[in-house]
Symmetry: C2
Amino acid sequence: MTLDPDLDPEAIREEAETEPEPRRMRDRVREAVERRDADELVALIDPMPLSEAMRQLFALDADDRDILLDLLPAELAARLIEEAPHAAAADLVDRMDTQRAAAVLEELDSAARADLIGDLEDDDAEAILAEFDPEDAADVRRLSGYEDETAGGLMVADVFAFRDTQTVAAILRDFAHEDADLEAYAGQHPYVVDKEERPVGVVSLRGLLMAKRTDRLAKIMVAPVLTVPVTATLDELQDLFDRHGFLGLPVVEADGRLVGAVSRQAVHDAALERAESESLKLQGVVGDELRSMPFWLRSRRRLAWLSANIVLNIIAASVISAYEETLAAVIAIAVFLPMVSDMSGCSGNQAVGVSMRELSLGLIQPKDAFRVWRKEVSVGMVNGILLGMLIGAVAWAWKGNPWLGLVIGLALAANSVIAVSIGGVVPLLLKRLGQDPAAASGPLLTTITDMAGFFLVLSLASLMMPLLV
Amino acid sequence: MTLDPDLDPEAIREEAETEPEPRRMRDRVREAVERRDADELVALIDPMPLSEAMRQLFALDADDRDILLDLLPAELAARLIEEAPHAAAADLVDRMDTQRAAAVLEELDSAARADLIGDLEDDDAEAILAEFDPEDAADVRRLSGYEDETAGGLMVADVFAFRDTQTVAAILRDFAHEDADLEAYAGQHPYVVDKEERPVGVVSLRGLLMAKRTDRLAKIMVAPVLTVPVTATLDELQDLFDRHGFLGLPVVEADGRLVGAVSRQAVHDAALERAESESLKLQGVVGDELRSMPFWLRSRRRLAWLSANIVLNIIAASVISAYEETLAAVIAIAVFLPMVSDMSGCSGNQAVGVSMRELSLGLIQPKDAFRVWRKEVSVGMVNGILLGMLIGAVAWAWKGNPWLGLVIGLALAANSVIAVSIGGVVPLLLKRLGQDPAAASGPLLTTITDMAGFFLVLSLASLMMPLLV
């Protein structure tokens, strides 16, 4: 059960069952933006599911997007910015003027606010903070100091805490006040702290319902309370929330002081964002990219990764260059070179995928490299031999030379084993070296398997040259 | 605030701060399995974070894993199986004998139970269901009928529901009973239903705290209540939970009857699992794979995808075969063929990655293909020209022929545009056609960009042959 102000009747309405057809909707949004018709925009955007509202927002040109966000009430604009992917959200805030940005950010919870401000240039961030009330600004400064993907970085600074000397009536008074700030506590248990602000217990719903109003909290609280240090990692937090049913956990500084609360939802969102960002990096999209971002930013980010790849490609191709004589003698080999390197790349990528998965599930760690390698080699041998026989047969049939089939088939079989070995182990080694396995595994894998594939085909062909020509 | 029996003091203990060094831990687990020492195993496994327990479980041989799960108390075994990735969990249950499997599954919530039983062979499933009490078996049969990744497939059948004619005292009695089954309701609001079992309201915590024990629920409930149909998709559920703070939502059949409740956590887990499975498919791992799975299953699954790829590769290579004369005349081209196709593949994969991301965020839909294409073409042209100039300069410097550089550079520039166009749009087209964009985009992209790359290099070279030799 949440302490959730959404429980107002007007907030609990059925989602609109019939959406207008989206293409027309897009035109209507654009026209309302052109007319600067704030009421019409609210009427259009507010009833939409958030994901649909996002789609409409990002279908606009950057300038229209800015206008739309300026016209909406700060609360609705904040909801959209909170739903937007991280990198895009910072950009949207960056483009607002200072006062508007401050007004919109005031609507976010303290964790989201600190995240966004942390992504801005220092000058811009300070200008916005100057608009905040000093307490909120202090919260933001404090929260910005913690690492992303730790309890400190994910927590909200607003904690639903009471002294152990207070009574049940104090909590009930808080509930009774229809205080809008209650939203900041959604999903927290009321925590009980001692005079050094250290959590000493938690008040359960059952305890609250069964207690007398005059009972001291120290009497009805459940103790001890599970706390997490500000330095707890995302993995540790996922573990804790998997294991316990809590909606939120109190976060403490090294000295035991209660400094915030991290919610299940924040941990969930961070985990999903991390999974998506890793998937993107495996595809060569490093740093966040959405097509709504500025053209040059997108181009530059993609080029950075491509340029590294082209250098690796040149290194791999130099192997072919060393064997031009062999190639000239048996030109048919040129047909199979890309096949051998492509197929090995595919096999290796499967191994990378499984290793990344097992890493993210916590099933393997860098020290398990040898075990992973053994598991990969056996699959690589079987699949390599089968694929090698297949491609060998194709080469034989196509070019009419069984020895050519043997060269290509052997090379693919051997290179498959190399590819899965590297693909399985490289993510673990990169992780051990403190590098990012998602971004670097693919290019490393491709380069090595290309080089090995070219070398195997061409050196085998050189050895068997009399049989091939 | 959760209705959470974990709030017992003994359950809320700090996680063990000092883990024994994992390698030694693995030996200790294996030795305890060999000795069939159930007490020692519980003492080792129970205090671990779940992810660490999973790591230990999957580091064992399949036989030892079975023994370990047999030795643990059903409740602990169930926790491990619930934490295990979906495909692995079904396999673990499949290997248990019927009575043990039933005992372990009894410990899971009704949604997880139905999922796992749905993954078993029909005979095995029926045998296990025969061990259940008839009511639980009926729940499982009913839940198995719903699609995965819908509200019906994700909901639990146990609903925390009261009649509108009941009083507050009825709810308080439920809380007061230290009923173990309360766990099944964790995170649900108490829903109020009419005599046709249709949800008509929900009881808020605030309402409960402020009410008299004799108040009828119809009086204190908040109405109307937000419900979701059993057919609601995962995307729709994510939208709803993003928009509202609820921990759970009541699920209704087409006739409006309350049939279950779907929790934020279940939706979160399903979303994360989907993101991870898409990432894996992009890497060519179709169907779940963990290295703990049986060897032949892993080999067969990987081969299925690789065999489709090898056929596509042969088709692409046939382009090279058609130009063997050109290649024979300018053998240096063979050095650059794999580079052009590799680099285009990289560019195209970036576009696939961004499209998959935007699809999963709901920012684009199949009908946006033209807009996506326009956005990609501009980035593709700029990046293609820059990379083309780079590789052209390399080819010129390396082989001493400016015309060779021109051929290679032009081919890469043009093929980059083709690659990003296809990479950006293909996921949308596949989705429109009801195919799985994650599994099929990569192979389609690679084949087309390989063919186009080979064709561009070789046909340009043929045209400019007098300048190249």
